[in-house]
Structure formats: C-alpha cells, structure tokens
C-alpha cells in the first residue's frame, strides 16, 4: 500500500548518502593539508614505491618501440653466386612473390651495390682501380610484419626455400637477434608484473600503517561519533578517503618523477642511440596508462585504509557495543 512512497524514500536516502560522502571527501583532504609534513613524507614514500615499477615498465615500452621494427630486423639478405644472371635472379624473385605469404622483395644489382658502397665507404677513387665489379647480385626479402611467431615461421620457410636454390651462395639474417630480444622483453615484462605486485603491496602496507596510526590518534573522536549514533560506514569514510588521497597523491608524484626522469635522461640517451644510427624518441606513458596509474594508486590507498579501519572497528564494535570504558 505504501509502494508509491518508497522511491521517494530511496531518493532521499541516496541524497543523504551523497552528502555524507562529500562531507568525508573534503574533510579528509582538509585534514591531510593540515598535517603537511606527515602527509608529504607518506606521499614521498608512496611515490617512490610506485615510480620504480613504472620506470621499468616505461623503459621496456620504449625499447619495444625502438627495436622491434620487424621490417628491418626480419629481412633476409640473399647473396647469389658470382656469374648468376639477372634473369635467374628475377625468376627467383618472381617465384617468391607468387608464394602465398606476402613479402617485399628488393633486388640490388652489382652496379647498384657498387654505387651504394662507393658512397657509404668513401673508397671512391680506389674502387675505380678495379677492373670489374666484384659484387654479386643481392636480394632483400622482408616478410609481412606481424606477430612474432608468425614472422618466425615465415622466415623459416623463406630460408628453406632459398637454400634449395643452386644459384644462392649465402643467406644472412638478423632474426635470431630479434628473437633473443623478444625473449628478453618477455622476461622484462614478467619482472614488471612481479614488481607491480610487490610494490603495490608495499603501497597498501604503507597506507595501512599510516591510517592505523591516524585511527589510533582519533580514538576519542571515534568513540564520540559512535555515541551520537554514527555507524561503521560513517566512521570509516573519512579514513577511506584519506587512504584514497594518499594513493592518488602517490600516483601523481610517481608520474611527476617519471616525467622528470625522462627530461633528464632523454637527451643523453638520444645522443647515445644516435651513434648506433637509431632515430630515437623517448615517449612517456600514454593517456590510458596514466589513468590506470591514478586509478590503481587510488584503489591501493583505499584498500590499505580499509584494512586498518576495519581491524580497528572490529575491535571496538562501533556498530554495536563500545565495550566497557
């Protein structure tokens, strides 16, 4: 009979809930800003703890972007026996093109090779002394870029085919290096996961301990709140929000440290890599990664606070009896 009443009652309840939460949200921030030094130290510890796995993650991310350019690394270079005719080279190239896996085939004639060498080596004059061009026909075959395993398979098939051709003298490829690098990256990623887990735990513990002290120093206030009718949720909220703020501030600090490190290391690293002939652009965390870091920090902080407050409330039984004074 009161069915038409309850939605309004529910709405009123929801509004009360929102008001209580916004009260805790801002009052907890106010308390943190009141105790600046203590907050700063906790946030510093959290920021550094989060910075370490993030730094490794970003390093790997950059390495991956730089080195795993498969089109360069997975190319197979084919050297023909001297005396092979252009027609033969073109026949092999044709056959490769016709096979099922798409690939890019570049033919370098001996004269093209010589021109390139002349330019790159600076031996221009001395090369003129040669009677005839000693360079063989060369062919570069790049398989279609794709997932590592697929490329591996393609390269293997390609090698098999090329080695079966009489006119081919040597095939050369850098793919093993790519493979090794790939495996090392996988190892690195596993290490990042382990570190994230470990340092995530550290963040939870640090926040839990800070909040534990915080709760203990508010014992009197908690008792008074319970006496005037506060339930567990109301007592818990400000501490949970404090934990959330800690986590969030820690994440922000970790991200700031990451940016600073990039600024600091970016130039010397770029100069170093330039000597290897690699154009290198250090990139930071993307937008979604940044969001994840902020969210993750907030959740870890919240969880740490939850653990401490819950332990305390269970002992105190705020919801029920307060125990004997």
């Amino acid at each position: 009979m009161n069915m038409h009443l309850w939605p309004r009652q529910l709405r009123r309840k929801n509004r009360a809930w929102v008001r209580r939460h916004s009260y805790s949200f801002f009052s907890s921030l106010g308390v943190l800003l009141q105790h600046r030094i203590g907050t700063l130290m906790t946030v510093l510890v959290l920021g550094i703890a989060m910075f370490l796995p993030l730094g490794l993650y970003m390093t790997l991310d950059n390495l991956e972007g730089m080195n795993l350019r498969q089109d360069e690394w997975s190319a197979v270079t084919v050297f023909y026996k001297s005396g092979t005719t252009q027609a033969e080279v073109e026949r092999v190239a044709d056959e490769l093109q016709k096979s099922s896996d798409p690939k890019v085939v570049t033919i370098i004639s001996p004269s093209e090779g010589m021109a390139e060498f002349r330019e790159a080596s600076g031996f221009g004059k001395s090369l003129d002394m040669l009677d005839e061009n000693p360079l063989p026909w060369v062919m570069q075959v790049s398989p279609q870029p794709g997932p590592t395993e697929q490329v591996e398979k393609q390269v293997e098939a390609l090698m098999g085919f090329l080695q079966s051709i009489d006119s081919v003298e040597v095939t050369q490829f850098d793919y093993k290096w790519l493979q090794r690098l790939g495996r090392m990256m996988e190892l690195g990623k596993a290490a990042v996961s382990a570190l994230i887990l470990l340092f995530g735990l550290a963040v939870v513990v640090v926040v839990a301990n800070t909040i534990r002290l915080d709760v203990a120093s508010h014992a009197e206030e908690i008792e008074i709140l319970a006496l005037v009718g506060a339930g567990n949720a109301f007592v818990r909220q400000p501490f949970l929000y404090t934990g959330l703020w800690y986590g969030l501030m820690g994440s922000v600090l970790a991200l700031a440290l990451l940016s600073l490190t990039m600024l600091y290391l970016g130039r010397p690293l770029g100069l170093l890599l330039e000597t290897y002939g690699t154009a290198f652009n250090l990139h930071g965390l993307g937008f979604s990664d940044t969001l994840w870091v902020l969210l993750g920090g907030a959740i870890l902080g919240w969880s740490g606070a939850w653990i401490s407050v819950q332990r305390y409330l269970r002992r105190l039984k705020v919801g029920g009896r307060l125990g004997r004074q």
């Binding site: 509004r15 009360a16 809930w17 008001r19 209580r20 009260y23 206030e221 008792e223 008074i224 709140l225 319970a226 006496l227 005037v228 009718g229 506060a230 339930g231 109301f234 039984k317 705020v318 919801g319 029920g320 009896r321 307060l322 004997r324």
Partner: protein
C-alpha cells in the same frame, strides 16, 4: 517509552551492576535516577543506549526490544536518543556549531537545514553567540550546554543525561534542570542520572533510586 523487565547486568569478571530491575517510564515524562556512585546508574543508561546488553531480562525502548536487536541496529537506537555526558564528550578540534551539527551530519541532512537547526538548538541553550568558538575556550557550564544542544538538535524522542551537573555550581545546575524540564514539556522523555538530591527533591519529579544494583525506591512525582 522505557521499560525494564527484570533486568540484570553482570560484567565479565562477575561484578554485578544491576540485579532484577523492573520499571516503566511513560512517554513525555521527566524522571530522575539517583543512588550512590557504583549503584548502577551509568550501566542503566548504557543499556538504554545499547552500549551494553542486559545479561538477563528485557530492555524495551520506544517499542523496540533492545535485548533482541542485533548490534547493527545500535546506531539507529542512538540516533533516536539524545545523550548528555558528565565530561561533555565534545570534539576539541571542531567548533561549537560543528559539534552540535554532528548528529545531523550522520543523518545526512542538507547543509542549509543543518545550519538552521544548529542555530535553533544553540539558541535554546543560550549559546548562539558562541557558534564559532572552540569548545576548550568555553566554561564547564557552557560546554555542558553545547552537549545538550547536540543532544536535542535532532529532536530525539528520548533524552538521557549522565550526571549533567557534576561539575557545575548550584545556580547553573538549577538552570540546567529548568532547561530539561522545558524540553520534556515539549514532548520528549527525559531521564537524568544525578546524585544532586537537594536539587532533585526541589524539582518534584519522579525519582528512581538505585542501591547496589537494585531498584531500592520509586518516588512518584509530587507536583500535580
């Protein structure tokens, strides 16, 4: 409003705080609870607040049997009960207004409503000008009145006071009891634990006398 049926309270360790206590307090009445310290006054109030549970017997407050209510209902019971403590129990790092606002914050009222009702409660206890003051800058009597404002701000049907005049001089005590009388005349049930016998006698209200955990006497109201 409050009904005790053969209530006993034993604390762990065997000390007996209340033994076989039965009485009924009508809605809207004002009753004093007296006895020596250690007679069980505080324990009785704590049972009504659901801060303790009876070892035996039934405690019924506002038609709710507290002996059979789960712990999680305690906050709701306390929200419907205004409690005044001898040591005030004010938050030192919050202003007078914020202290009084606490029960309304817990209830999740709108800020504008909270402001209005806090001012009304402070006005009633004569402390409207101390709204922004810190509790520790107030005198004992003023702090006690802040506690009363907090207890009445949500207009609970039941008001409990544990030795509210413990630290006050006789004139202030008289004033305070007058205030309680006013509140009870507006419809609230008021139960005051006090050993200020002189003052209690002058008020002419019903008096429950506890002695060593037993209800030793029940003196009816003398005024018409």
């Amino acid at each position: 409003m409050i009904k005790f049926e053969r209530v006993s309270k034993l604390y762990p360790g065997g000390s007996r705080a209340l033994a076989d206590v039965s009485f009924t307090i009508e809605r809207g009445s004002m009753v004093f609870l007296t006895g020596h310290s250690g007679a069980g006054k505080s324990t009785l109030l704590r049972l009504v607040m659901m801060l303790e549970r009876a070892s035996r017997g039934q405690v019924i407050v506002n038609d709710r049997n507290l002996s059979q209510s789960p712990d999680r209902l305690a906050p709701i019971v306390r929200r419907n009960t205004g409690m005044i403590f001898q040591d005030h129990k004010l938050l030192k790092d919050k202003t007078v207004a914020d202290n009084v606002a606490l029960p309304l914050m817990i209830a999740g009222l709108k800020y504008a409503d909270i402001r209005k009702r806090v001012r009304a409660a402070l006005d009633k206890v004569g402390l409207l000008d101390k709204e922004k003051a810190w509790p520790l800058t107030l005198s004992g009597g003023e702090q006690q009145r802040v506690g009363i404002a907090r207890a009445i701000v949500s207009m609970p049907p039941l008001l409990l006071a544990d030795e509210p005049t413990g630290n006050l001089d006789p004139i202030l005590s008289r004033e305070l009891f007058g205030l309680f009388e006013q509140i009870s005349e507006q419809g609230a049930t008021v139960l005051i634990a006090s050993h200020d016998l002189d003052l209690i006698r002058r008020m002419g209200k019903r008096v429950l006398v506890l002695s060593a955990g037993r209800l030793a006497d029940d003196i009816p109201a003398s005024d018409g």
